[in-house]
């Protein structure tokens, strides 16, 4: 993936995601149910309205605003509960060890949904920095890693897993799934204070939280697709396009820190990025498209929706994207992070009494399962060996040597 497409080197527009604003013409929020559906039902081959409609992103990672808000509120509520419960358990465990334990902070000081989001977004931006400054990894890796982080926190809470630990693992995994693997030693060498095991131990958790769905459809290809589309006019606005491109790419970058990808299709986000960069450019193009369609009898609606409807969606996406361009309030982030120290689920913090206790419990359980498995295997072996009955005792002395079993027979 390159950062400078330029007119001389237009990259191929992704067929599924570039031209289609909202393929099926469904309202945005109508397609949402699938986002929260149980993962159990995996689709059999069913052709979608466009290739995008067949992606795991469309099927499992799209939400309505209400759904995503509720989801986060629930997750936050549950984590608070679990954390409070574990705090109490930790206090007990510490005291039973004869340690003193400062009273945990009241639940009111726990992180709110907004606090959690703030931290997640901050670490998403940190991820960009590491990609660009640290590794020089292509944008595809960065975009995918950020999506992984955001998806991870739709299944997990910041109070259980600190984003500063999850971010490197998400990046490491994304580098592999986008064909730019970095060997683990080289990877941790760029991260202060990280050991290979810190990254690798969480990889499985992250992959599992992603539902093992690794292909993220970013808005970068559609953005370049629109670049080509815009030139398909009577008078191609080549100069304006060229001038607007850097700004459009900036907005694209900013869109990654927002919820846009959970709410809208990549093509919609890309178009919004263009419109934020140059409103007139996009409006003229849409005007042209719809007029051309009107002039032609029986022509289908461009982009599967009337212009008015498209404009409403576009305005929504623009608002979401524009909101994520705001600078981070570092003071606020530090404050939240400090508060987080007091309300991290002690079960997940190495070194706490509860962590040690849970680990011992897990190990005991594993050992038990292992023993059970071994016993089962041994039993199966015996059953196999005795399929034709017990082995015949080799008796040299014939009948004078009674069968083995009889020796133990108290009634013999």
């Amino acid at each position: 993936m390159t950062n400078e497409p330029g007119p001389s080197r237009p990259s191929k527009p992704a067929s599924g995601t570039s031209g289609v604003a909202n393929g099926s013409g469904k309202t945005e929020n109508g397609a949402v149910a699938s986002g929260t559906a149980t993962p159990a039902a995996r689709a059999q081959p069913t052709p979608g309205a466009s290739p995008f409609h067949e992606t795991s992103q469309f099927k499992h990672w799209r939400y309505s605003r209400e759904a995503i808000t509720n989801l986060r509120a629930e997750l936050n509520e549950k984590s608070k509960e679990v954390t409070a419960r574990n705090m109490a358990a930790e206090k007990e465990a510490q005291q039973s060890l004869g340690h003193t334990f400062a009273d945990p902070p009241p639940q009111a000081a726990y992180l709110s949904v907004e606090d959690e989001l703030l931290l997640v977004r901050f670490y998403c931006s940190q991820c960009s920095n590491i990609c660009r400054a640290g590794f020089g990894l292509p944008e595809a890796v960065e975009a995918t890693a950020i999506s992984y982080i955001k998806r991870f926190y739709l299944k997990n809470s910041v109070m259980e897993w600190h984003p500063k630990n999850i971010m490197p693992t998400a990046l490491f995994l994304a580098a592999k799934t986008t064909n730019h693997p970095v060997p683990i030693e080289a990877f941790v060498a760029k991260l202060k204070g990280f050991e290979p095991s810190d990254v690798l131990d969480l990889e499985f958790l992250v992959a599992q939280s992603l539902g093992f769905e690794f292909w993220v459809r970013g808005a970068d290809k559609p953005l370049r697709g629109w670049y080509l589309e815009f030139q398909d006019q009577a008078i191609p606005p080549t100069d304006n396009l060229q001038r607007a491109l850097p700004a459009a790419l900036e907005y694209l970058s900013a869109s990654r820190y927002s919820d846009a990808e959970f709410l809208y299709s990549p093509a919609q986000i890309a178009l919004a990025a263009w419109r934020l960069a140059n409103k007139e450019l996009v409006d003229n193009f849409l005007e042209f498209k719809y007029q051309a369609a009107e002039a032609e009898e029986g022509a289908a609606l461009p982009f599967g929706a009337p212009l008015a409807e498209l404009r409403i969606v576009l305005a929504e996406v623009e608002a979401v994207v524009a909101a994520s361009t705001a600078k981070f309030d570092i003071k606020k982030i530090k404050e939240v992070d400090k508060r987080l120290k007091g309300c991290t689920n002690p079960e997940k913090v190495p070194g706490t009494a509860l962590y040690i206790k849970r680990k011992a419990e897990q190990e005991a359980k594993n050992a038990e399962a292992k023993a059970e498995k071994a016993a089962k295997a041994a039993h199966a072996r015996v059953a196999d060996d005795t399929i034709f009955g017990a082995p015949i005792a080799s008796t040299k002395d014939g009948e004078s040597n009674p069968p083995q079993a009889a020796l133990d027979d108290p009634f013999a």
């Binding site: 992704a14 592999k176 799934t177 683990i184 539902g211």
Partner: protein
């Protein structure tokens, strides 16, 4: 319990794991059933605990692409779940593969059978390419056959997306006998045409019943290719001498090799020539190949259920380690192993057979 773990557990509980039917260094394959319906499935358990760089690239690629690609001619990934540190892929249960069919000398193929297998392969491949993916390891033992006779493309361990300008790709892909000359000469920028060449060699193999171009080394592969088909000229393939690892393999005279596939008739011969064009830019695409006259003239393709199939149930075999594992150092540098004619074929690897 964490939400993700909970979801994982509900998924895992849908499937019953049965006996092991294949074993390898990095993955085991088990027979299994879907609890609700009793449907037969296969579970491929990838061991990841001991990998140095974490989750293996080959496994990640396989999961990444199978999660997105849903087509009747592509192996169906029904579910993914984990138990401890193992990734379990729940796959459609498939009886055999095209290599086993080709090697079973008791089976006689009609041209219409070959037409049917070719059409099914091309349908699956057209879908893969349409979705922006290169398979990069097509060969008869990656074309699995269901009990219904339907052909399904499997093994996405070397697959990747394409379509980003300026992205260098490794030329060390595709098992040697099915590898096109541009890769043998080290091309780092290539297209779906690489997969089309593989299909071409497979179609010829279906007629010959032995691999068409069986080189013992990468250099020998080029020699065998040009020995069979004549050395390319600048006119056949403009610019081929500029490829990174180009070395001259000239002097082989043109040869009407398509006479080898005369049983397929003139249209079949023509399709083979289109698939095996030296110049990747001139080689036919999957979509265009599907519109080739071969499929619409002469005998109709055999219905899948009527296609020849080995009678004896194949016994499980060991999974060749190279088939399930990436090279530990880097996934992109993975060396390909070429099937060795004298060796027992290792189809069990993907599923069993």
């Amino acid at each position: 319990m964490d939400l993700a773990a909970l979801e994982n557990q509900t998924r895992a509980e849908r499937w019953e794991k049965g006996v092991k039917i294949g074993e390898g260094t990095f993955a085991n394959v088990y027979k299994g059933t879907e609890k609700a319906t009793g449907r037969k499935i296969a579970i491929k358990k990838i061991k990841v605990g001991e990998m140095k760089d974490g989750l293996d690239m080959t496994a990640l690629r396989e999961v990444k692409f199978l999660q997105e690609l849903h087509h009747p001619n592509i192996i169906g990934l029904l579910d993914v779940f984990s138990v401890k540190q193992n990734v379990n892929l729940v796959l459609e249960f498939l009886d055999t593969d095209l290599e086993a069919v080709i090697r079973d000398k008791s089976l006689i193929f009609q041209p219409a059978d070959i037409k049917s297998w070719t059409a099914m392969s091309l349908r699956g491949l057209e879908y893969i390419h349409r979705n922006g993916v290169l398979h990069r390891d097509l060969k008869p033992n990656n074309l699995l056959i269901a009990s219904t006779g339907e052909l399904k493309i499997a093994d996405f361990g070397l697959a990747r997306e394409f379509g980003d300008a300026k992205t260098r790709m490794t030329s060390q892909v595709i098992t040697r006998w099915y590898r096109p000359p541009e890769l043998l000469w080290g091309a780092r920028y290539y297209s779906p045409a690489v997969d089309m060449w593989s299909i071409g060699t497979i179609v010829v193999e279906l007629v010959l019943r032995v691999p068409f171009l069986a080189g013992d080394s990468d250099i020998d592969q080029l020699k065998k290719t040009f020995h069979a088909m004549g050395s390319p000229t600048e006119q056949d393939w403009p610019g081929h001498t500029k490829l990174p690892d180009y070395h001259e393999v000239a002097g082989y005279p043109p040869n009407p090799w398509w006479n080898l596939v005369s049983p397929l008739g003139r249209d079949g011969q023509n399709l083979c020539r289109e698939l095996l064009k030296f110049d990747p830019m001139a080689r036919v695409s999957a979509k265009a190949a599907l519109h080739h006259k071969f499929f619409t003239t002469g005998e109709r393709p055999t219905a899948p259920i009527l296609l020849p199939k080995p009678l004896a149930e194949l016994r499980p075999r060991d999974i060749a380690p190279q088939d399930v594992a990436g090279m530990p150092d880097s996934g992109t540098k993975r060396k390909n192993t070429t099937p060795n004619g004298t060796e027992q074929r290792s189809i069990a690897r993907k599923l069993f057979a």
